[in-house]
Each structure stands twice: as C-alpha cells, then as structure tokens.
Amino acid sequence: MQKMDKKIGGEMYKVVAQCVDDKIWIHMNGETIVLDAEVSTGRRRGKSSGKDAKSNVILAPMPGKITKLFKKQGELVVIGESVLVMEAMKMEYTLKANINGTIKKVAFKEGDQVVLGAQIVDIEPAKEV
C-alpha cells in the first residue's frame, strides 16, 4: 500500500493506492477507483454481464446458485422476459433475455452453483422481419 499527496488543478489530493491481485485500487479525496493492473495489450476482457449490449448469451453476473429456470431448450423468448433466477448473498436476481429468439442451450440445471461469467443460456436470435 502506498500513500502520497498530490496537487491537481490547484487542489490537494490525498492518495492511497494498492495492488490487490490483478487490480489497482486507488482512493483519493473520497473516491475509490479500480483499474486493471495489466498494461493494456489490446486484448479485450470479456463482458461482465452482457446486460447493456444485445447479447445472445446470458452470463452469470455473479457467483451463485441457479434457483429457477423458466425456459427450456427450444422455447421462445422475447426481450425483457425472465429466463432464470439466481441466488447470491441471500438475495434473488432475475436474469432476463435482451434479445428476441429461441433458447438454443441451457448449460445448467436448477440447484447448480455457477461461477462469475459462466455461460448459462444460449439464445438463437430471431430473424429480423
């Protein structure tokens, strides 16, 4: 852990920084900033959740347990429809489809523990009409 004082734009910042595993954590004047420690090599890191972009896969946004699957292989889904429920830290989170399509593959069953980023469901996108 390192500490320093730094003047930026006329204001004094008290900075504390530390590497924890592969991340750099910086605290300065009430704000915590997290960066990837590795120097960018142009390699793209996997998307964490695929929540923002249209995605034909549903990834586990956190480690946890699958408590309910609403859809089976071959069933249709529409945008915003609940596909499964995960439980982590004693709370339930419903994961929804963000494209229209057909369930191509469900890689886990109810009760399974999944790791962060596990690909739980594959969706075959519907053809644009």
Partner: protein, 503 residues
Amino acid sequence: MKKSDLSNLAIKRLAIANRGEVAVRIIKACEELGIETVLLHSDADINSRAYRMADHKVCIGGSLPAESYLNIKSNVHGALAKNADAIHPGFGFLSENADFAQACTEAGLIFVGPSADAIRSLGDKVHCKELAKKCGIPLVPGYEGEDQSVEKLSQEAERIGYPVIVKAAAGGGGRGMKLITNLADARERIESAQRESLSAFGSAKVFLEKYLDRAKHIEFQVFGDSVGKVRHLFERECSVQRRHQKIIEEATSPSLTPELRRKMGEAAILIAQTAGYRSAGTVEFLFQDNEFYLLEVNTRLQVEHPVTEMVLGIDLVKAQILNACKNFIFSEDQYKSFQGHSIECRVYAENSYAGGMPSTGKLGHVYFPEGPGRRFEYGFEEGDVITSFYDPMIAKVIVWDESRPRAIQKMIEVLNQSIIFGVHTNIPYLKAILSHPEFIAGTMTTQFIGKYFAEPIKPPTRSTEMNAFIEEIKKAMTKPPVSKTSSMGEGYQNPWTEYWRIC
C-alpha cells in the same frame, strides 16, 4: 487470573451462533463483562475478525448457511462441546427461530434473547398480527391465511388491491419479500417469495399486505428486563430501503412529534408486555399521514441497534447478556430521554455504479477514520475474503452528533475518508443518498430509493489532468519501482521515486 474469575455472572462462557460484524460486537461485550467466547463458525469464516478474536472456536459445518449457521443441532452441539453455558444468536440466521431457542434451553444452555414462546407469538408474523388485533393496535390490510396455494394468494392480492406486498411469515431483512403490482406478475412474485423464504428461513409460508405508497418505516426498540418490566428505548427511522433491505437508519426519527412518539411507544410496550417479552426486541411500524400501523415485531437484536445506543448511552448487547443472567433491572429514571442524533450506514459489498451488483473477493487495505462520535462495526480485515455465501453487509459506519444536520455532515466526511480495497462498496451510493434534498429534509419515505435511486448512480467525471495522474499511478503500480537509470527512458519519472511513501 483467568478471565472467568473476574465474573460472578451466571454465564461464564458464551457461544456465538453468528458471524461477521455482529459476532465481533458480541465478543467485545463479553470481553468487557469477563465472559469467555466460543465462536460457532462455518468453513468459510476462518478468515474473519471474529475468528481471530474469539477465545475458542468450533467449526460447525460447511460454507452454505444450511450446513452451518442455520443448523440447530450443529450449533447446540458445538456450544456443548466447548462447555459454553449460553448462546447468543446475533441477528439473521437462527436468531428468530423458536425451535433453536427451545433446543438451547433443553440442552441446558441459556439462550440470550426472549423465550421460545415469546418468539413464537411475536416472531411469526401471522400470530403477531392476531395479538396486535387483541391489543387494539392498528394493522395494514392483508391476508394471513393458512391456504398457501398460489391461486388463493393471487385471489387475495386482487381483493386487497394493488400494490400488494408478499412476505415470508418467518422472515425479516427483506428476504422473501416481493412487490406485486398487477395480476400478471402475481404468480412469479409469489413463487419467488416462497422460494426465498424457504431458502432463507426454512419455511415457505408467506402472507400478503397492502403496500402503503408514501409510508415511513419507524420502529421502536423495546426491552423487557429481568423482572418482566418492558420499556421502550425510543425509535429509529429506517425509511431508506432498497428491495426492502435497510440501507441507512437513524435515531430518532425526524418525523415524530412527542405526542406520536408517546402513542407509538405505548403501543410497542403493550404488545411486548402482552407476549411476556424479555430481552431486546423491535416493534416496527409503518407511518403515513400521521397514522401508524404495526408492521412486525423482531424478536432479536437489530442490525441498526447502535443508533439507539448512541442517543441513549445504553449497551444493548451487554443488557441482553446481563438480562439472560437475570441481572438487568431498569431503574425508574434510566433512559427517559435521548440526546443528539445518530445515523448508521450499512456498507455493502456491491458496485454502486453497476446497480448494486454484489462484489466478492479478497479485501485489500481497510481503513476507517476514528474520531469522537464515530463508530465502526466490521467483521473483516485486509486479507479476508468476502464470499457469495452470505449477506453482502461488510461493515456499519455509525456517527453521533448534536443535531441531525451535523450528523449527516459528519457521516459524509467519514465515508469520504473510509477506505475499502478489494471489493466494490456502496459508499458512493450512500453519499449520494445522504446529500439528497429529501433525505436532508427528513421527509423521505420507503419509496425514496425507488423514486430517486432506481438507476445506478453515475461515476464522477474527471478532468484530463486527473485522468493523466491516474494513468501515472497505474503505470507506477504495474511496473515494480525502478531506479532513475532504468529502461523507462529519458524523461520518464516514476512518481514512486518522487513522492510515494511505502507503508
């Protein structure tokens, strides 16, 4: 001299059936009372502050709560194996489980809390409502029937009128609680609540209640002493809730007049006294348009108990333990008035900028800025791992000051200076809430978060100069410190060699 020689209490060695910050809180109270401690812990919790602090420890099972912290037999056997004479259940887990209280008593252990019968009559929300009706305490319209079929529950939701809330009968803390706004949602929400309830409390029983849309959450701390006298210890307001989980609590409420405080306090005492309540408990009310409705009674210590302690100068955990030793009697003039204002923020391991996504991992540097009227309750330190097995609450920050505005100001500054590395926290989110005009005015309701903080908060924007500096730190931290004659080339100055102090 052995620690236990200092104590002439009935309890010489107390087992703690809990983890995290509350286990630490109980250990500290025991240390002060000269009582030895036994930590009943899971596989996952050997890297925790409570584990390092406890005098004795027993691993009672696997990391999943059902295998350890929710297992009555394992907890009782663990306590007996280490010759404990009492068990403190903390909050959550088995703290409101009457069977656990009974199992402890039957095994010859003192249960630090109310009797199994009191837990049964007040802790079960359905029974509690029947008792409230008998006492003439107003209730929110709802359905508390034995028919637990999804069809019946959906019908009743229609009858009560949306929005309707579905809750775990054995629950608390927001788990197994869902909001139903129309018939189309009803089935999914009811089933979800039943599943959460079963997984968190071991019972799928739920009930329905009309959802008041601009109510405040105001709760009264009650305490039944060793001679059966129940007193109220003023109220806390906990209107700042997300998904029915409290985030910020304060004592006292900025919304109660002395007259309402008296009426609600009397109602709280009445229901507790009727149930023969001993030890610490909380009577929760919803408060809307100057009317109050009994919500539920929590037959245990609450997460937010410190704010009451701060304004009254009481130690509720010690009071519980002394009471369990039949050694706590209120004197007439004690705790009759409060002083100043206290606020508690729950620090959750979650990403403020990603809508509260849970964050797990190994903790790095942890620092809390000590000072007058500041209190930090935490269960994990640098090197400990925050896992996904348990509640995401990793610390509580509590402040006291002479007025509410000053307490808010102090809390913001304390959060600014608090450092937690290794997992994301909700600290930015907490600061945004504390700075919101409605919170500052004290007029927030339980709708506050849904209304103003439904969307993830945005990360702050930074100047070009600031971004350049952050890049500089990143480079310095990524590459090990190098001398001036390094291969970094002419003109490159490692900020480390210039101004970093290595701690």
